[in-house]
Amino acid sequence: MDFASFLIQTLNSLQYGLLLFLVASGLTLVFGIMGIINLAHGSFYMIGAYLAFVLASSTGSLFSAILLGIPLALLFGAFLEWALFAHLYKRDHLEQVLLTYGLILVFEEVRSLLVGDEVHGVEIPAMFGGSIPLTEVLNYPVYRLVISAVCIVLAIALYLVIQRTRLGMMIRAGNHDRTMVEALGININMIYRVVFALGVALAALAGMLASPISSVFPNMGNHVLIISFVIVVIGGIGSVWGALAAALIVGFADTFGKVLLPELSGMVVYLVMAAVLLWRPEGIFKKG
């Protein structure tokens, strides 16, 4: 591999990893703070993409679709937490798995009834439609750079919210000791609702951002869900920083695996996960 290809593959890895981070950060927050194994998290990615398709075709632009889509996703997340997930905190993981697996089936069926099973496309906004020439034959689409930029901004925003705000302080406290936080008079249920809605919105946003480059199709969340769980496990459950580091590791492993070890390309990510777990059984960023 020459140096130029190496740089371009690095760019590919970063973009893929950052997009995965968006999905995985919500999964790890909900898992780490609320203790919920949410198999339906990939469906939120799918729902986001379909929202982008439906809203973009009625409003005519992906920007307005995303602006409308985020509050809708937040509301949807808050509603789901209130209606279903709030009843799961004290249940064991098996019951959470059953409910959230059931939700995948329900979401897919409703999606099929409302929008059908066809494959759809979403137009890239005109101002990001161009591409930058990298080599004599290869261009890099501007839109992929935009996705990476948005993901970086969101990662920073997430850091500021969790480390520097009062809400973030309560979230962190809730992560450590739920009972103590309640005893201090903090409304832990409200915090859980916010965290869950945030997780749903992050996954849906990832789906919306990815819709123009990945197309919009049934079951599109399944693969993303599995990779997101790998990221959560590598990064350490509940750690947003772990999720970022692990998403980038997975992005690099997958991209370079495909090029350098094509025979093993389907397994590289899982081999990396096994290696990390041998080294740190709790994941990279899990403390104590």
Binding site: Q9, E118, G121, P141, T255, K258, G266
Partner: protein
């Protein structure tokens, strides 16, 4: 009170049973039973419906009959699930005792159906699934296909690309049997024509992160790229390929599944992509025009290659049934009739090979104005080699 209701209940039950018995007896023994085992839910639902519509259209054109016999349909949704395939096929074969099984789309399910058909000596017509094995190592006297084998369109594309004078090609596909069989078919014709496949790239199904491969293709600078993808993955690949600017310098080729049923999702990116298949838009033949008109009238939508394959499954069975003068029980004669048939299909007339796969023209198509327009006939009367078939 309870006693009365029970008595009444018994009475109603008795009457119901009696009428049910009468109904069963009253049903004319004369009806030929067709068993559809197709996907009616899930990702392939549209394909299952198109096949059913096509089949029923042909029957309707014949006054609701095949070879003068009334038709009765039995239907099972196979859900494209190989795990349920044997049980579903047995429902139609053993419970409903159908005269012919028609199915299906998913190759894994079709392979299980072929097994059930062989064990029970039930006639099977496969109206889509292209796994080479069905008319290859697993071929049987009572198993027919009205569609294609994976090998056929890919082989035709290999010839086309070699004839264009291209020498160095890279292939990309999902690592599952249909994709690998397509790449094999392409390679066979292309390397026979003097070209060389310099790299085979594969990724696990249904992964759609293609960006690293595009970078790799740009580094290798082949004369052309041959890909097998279908559905959503195909739309994404073509979009990514175009966005990376590769389409202008390295032309993209594939079997028709690359651009069938997803042109809307591809949008502008698909323009100019050339594919090979046994059907195309704008075929200049009377049968196709009549078929398309009839289909639009009956179902208020445009037919596709799947509807054609369903339509031809009905034509094929009609040919066999006519040979046996309408007696579905004379399976030997029905089979002989089907083997000898020349089907006047909307895709152009075809006959069957020794292994019961269509010997058909494969067209070279190009995406123009949201359609797969025919450019030329890539290979005339292409027969599947049916390697491993022993009939």
């Amino acid at each position: 009170m309870t006693y009365k209701i029970n008595a009444l209940g018994k009475l109603i039950l008795g009457v119901a049973l009696a009428t049910a018995g009468l109904a069963a007896q009253a049903a004319p023994e004369g009806k030929v039973k067709i068993g559809f085992m197709l996907p009616y839910t899930g990702t392939y639902a549209a394909l299952g419906n198109a096949i059913t519509n096509g089949f029923k259209q042909y029957v309707a054109e014949n006054g609701g009959k095949l070879a003068g016999r009334e038709i009765e349909y039995y239907t099972v949704d196979d859900e494209s699930d190989p795990a349920k395939a044997t049980e579903n096929a047995n429902k139609l074969v053993k419970r409903d005792k159908v005269d012919v099984l028609v199915g299906t789309v998913h190759s894994g399910v079709a392979l299980a159906m072929a097994k059930v058909a062989r064990e029970n000596k039930t006639l099977l017509i496969v109206p889509n699934a292209g796994a080479d094995e069905i008319t290859g190592p697993l071929c049987a006297a009572n198993v027919f296909r009205s569609s294609f084998s994976a090998w056929q369109p890919a082989y035709a594309m290999g010839q086309v690309v070699a004839q264009k004078g291209m020498k160095k090609v890279v292939t990309v596909t999902w690592k599952y049997s249909f994709g690998l069989q397509s790449v094999e078919g392409f390679k066979e014709a292309f390397e026979k024509g003097g070209g060389k496949v310099v790299k085979d790239m594969t990724l696990p199904f249904p992964n759609v992160e293609f960006q690293p491969f595009l970078t790799e293709i740009a580094a290798l600078k082949p004369d052309a790229v041959f890909v097998f993808f279908a559905g959503a993955g195909a739309a994404k690949f073509v979009k990514d390929y175009t966005a990376a600017g590769l389409k202008n310098s390295i032309p993209l080729y594939g079997p028709g599944f690359l651009t069938d049923g997803n042109l809307d999702a591809m949008g502008e990116a698909g323009k100019g992509v050339q594919t090979t298949l046994h059907y195309a838009d704008g075929l200049d033949n009377k049968k196709d025009s009549a078929f398309r008109l009839g289909y639009v009238k009956a179902y208020k939508m445009q037919p596709d290659v799947y509807a054609v394959q369903g339509y031809d499954a009905a034509q094929l069975y009609q040919a066999g049934l006519s040979a046996a003068a309408g007696d579905a029980a004379k399976q030997d004669v029905v089979i002989k009739g089907m083997e000898a048939a020349r089907i006047d299909s909307p895709r152009g007339a075809f006959t069957l090979s020794r292994a019961h796969n269509p010997v058909q023209d494969i067209y070279l198509r190009e995406v123009q104005g949201g359609q797969n327009k025919v450019l030329s006939t890539a290979v005339k009367a292409l027969a599947d080699p049916a390697r491993g078939c022993k009939i």
